[in-house]
Symmetry: C2
Subunit: 398 residues, 2 copies
């Protein structure tokens, strides 16, 4: 058995090779940019009016307070030209600043009467209320770096830059496989010794939050059938996620089947709780993740290992997080303890409150956790107010 850090090291050294693909920009949301994006023009592309009002030449304020209005420069209209330096043009937010003007005085600060704008205050300088051409970026500047995560604000940048098609990293094709003969479909009434399948749907949903539309399948705990089905799945899918069948049970055939299919098992067993029997293997550019079948084990291993591995594969910016333990926790075994917590934000601090549960099979209380703290592999009393790495299961966008 290896440590959590050793497991992460192996995962990071075995990324999946992902092709780049071009998507219409609206579909690129939450993908990872595969190439740098440059400004095709200055931003703003012209001296841009930032208030509705009048445009004048600031120097004229020395000798003038009443401005005859020559016309209106609307947004989207070609640039007008002020013909007389003691006149003005009405200008609208977003319009190009008219030629021969350099200063915008908002409507709130003038009086309009009979085609004349009267200015009270004469203390305006050039470029007042003007967003100068090229202030924010120059044509040719690199605006977005490859590896960037495309959130709504970045999508807007792509739109502004005219990137109707965007180069992103292709996400892998993933199949989520349930194993376990005790599982019945959700709509079916289970017999007393059966339970409903749920982990695959949790994984499918977790994949969706990473932008991946995974497929689900249920495989029976039958050695030969498993082998045939996995062999076939490996033809179509680049990544297989399994929930169950990787431990020491008599019907935990996965490790054996993987070996028979030529899958090299790179990790099997990690010094952690939950998720000890975690398995990771590869065959060329195909990858298998074996998550222990208890709900907490499956979810923790997905977030601790699969998510990190995918982030590395995408060469994506990611940041590690930490949180403050809200209560003392005793854990007396030399393995990393992934403690289920609910985070609470108070005064700019992230508190991790342990979620009471009856073990890794307790899906009722698992669903109350939004993250886990990873307590280091030293038998210890982990103190209240100490800070530990945290991994989130989900984040509320509201």
């Amino acid at each position: 058995m290896i440590s959590v850090d050793e497991a992460k090291e192996i995962l990071s050294k075995n990324p999946i090779a992902l092709a780049d693909t071009s998507l219409p920009f609206q579909q690129s949301l939450y993908h990872t940019l595969a190439s740098d994006v440059f400004a095709d023009r200055d931003a703003p592309p012209f001296h841009r009016v930032t208030m509705d009002g009048i445009a004048i030449r600031a120097a004229s304020l020395k000798s003038n307070k009443r401005y005859h209005i020559e016309g209106i420069q609307a947004a989207g209209q070609p640039q007008l030209s002020l013909s007389d330096a003691h006149h003005c043009l009405e200008v609208m937010t977003g319009a190009i600043l008219p030629k021969n003007t350099d200063c915008v005085i908002p409507y709130e600060k003038i009086h309009l009467l009979d085609g004349v704008a009267e200015v009270d205050d004469t203390g305006y300088s050039p470029f007042h209320n003007v967003h100068l051409k090229g202030t924010d970026a120059k044509k040719g500047d690199r605006i977005l770096q490859k590896g960037t995560w495309i959130h709504p604000g970045k999508l807007s940048v792509l739109a502004s830059l005219g990137k109707a098609q965007v180069e992103v990293r292709q996400l892998p094709k993933v199949l989520v496989c349930a194993t376990g003969d005790e599982l019945v479909p959700v709509a079916q009434q289970p017999l007393p010794h059966q339970i409903r399948s749920s982990n695959v749907f949790m994984l499918e949903a977790a994949l969706k939050s990473l932008g991946i539309k995974g497929q689900t399948a249920h495989l029976t705990d039958h050695r030969e059938k498993l082998k045939t089905e996995i062999e076939k799945a490996l033809e179509t899918y680049e990544v297989l996620l399994f929930s169950g069948a990787v431990s020491k049970g008599k019907f935990d055939f996965l490790p054996e089947v993987f070996r028979q299919l030529g899958v090299e098992i790179l990790i099997h067993g990690v010094r952690q709780k939950p998720g000890k029997p975690f398995l990771f293997g590869r065959k060329g550019n195909r990858f298998v993740f074996g998550f222990p079948g208890n709900p907490a084990s499956t979810l923790v291993c997905f977030h601790a290992f699969f998510k990190a591995w995918l982030g590395t594969s995408l060469q994506r910016e990611t940041e590690s997080s930490s949180a403050i333990l809200s209560d003392e926790v005793l854990f007396n075994r030399p393995v990393t303890y992934h403690l289920l917590v609910k985070t609470v934000l108070r005064e700019g601090k992230v508190w991790a409150v342990p979620v009471k549960n009856s073990g890794s099979g307790d899906w009722v209380h698992l669903s109350e956790a939004d993250a886990f703290l990873s307590l280091p592999a030293v038998p210890s009393v982990f103190k209240k107010n100490d800070v530990f790495p945290i991994t989130y299961f989900h984040k509320d966008s509201f």
Copy 2:
């Protein structure tokens, strides 16, 4: 003009009435539960084996160390019965605990030879490695409350409880309208005085993060056309979001058009920066949001007002957040200042680092912010290390 708090108060008193709808559970992800969900059986539904190994009667350990193996209790198999109290049954994780047994000893702690399991340690108590029936929930318990946000863990709970169909609150039909004659489509090369449309795509993406598939439209700055198109849109859509045309410009026809269409304007103008001209109106159960057209104004108003309004309408659990200002900020006007920030997590603390930008038209630097701090409407030097409310634009799921 009203304060930000007054605006929020008006919004919360004018929620949209949303119907409930039934969705296949996999589609219910990120929706809001419309009814309580109860346990249809105990959780776990039977005494559940939590380790692969042998099941015995703990009391037998007083007189026995060698157990003849009667058979295997696999997961998903009807309950077997141990016939002799000094024998054992092999049991697999997830199986029902066999009748006449009460204790599971894992394979790691026994020796198997010739159909006999030998136990070294005899200090096992009843229910060792058994997840007792009903520990986590009893049949009839309320497991999920209405108003719950369905994240992957909750989806899994719905699956476990057999909720193949889930009652959720219907999300509103939303149309996002760009205004502004300076805007051209993303794929088009703008003329020198034009820019590409981008705010609507930013809003469409932000809606998507709340689970709403919005439509987009571009309306011209023409009074009569606007009126006709908005009248038509109000027949199909429950909510219209506008970017632009709500300020003091000569072509900012929206407030006038709304009035002509019988839309009651409940908010127009908020003491805040950016976003001063923000508009909110209703006509029966139809709602309009007018966001000022600068990118930062649009995005801040969407998150400060629309998101809060939608959360209230969904009667959804939401939590307020705060963050620690990383640098001193001077702001000398008596309006709420929504300061663009990038959050940095260090030692369990959320630091809000101001994002330098040239104003609310600067979409380049806006895209570097992931949130805004709302600094109160008192002209002040806002001190480093002080804590303020924060609103996120997006959250990275990685």
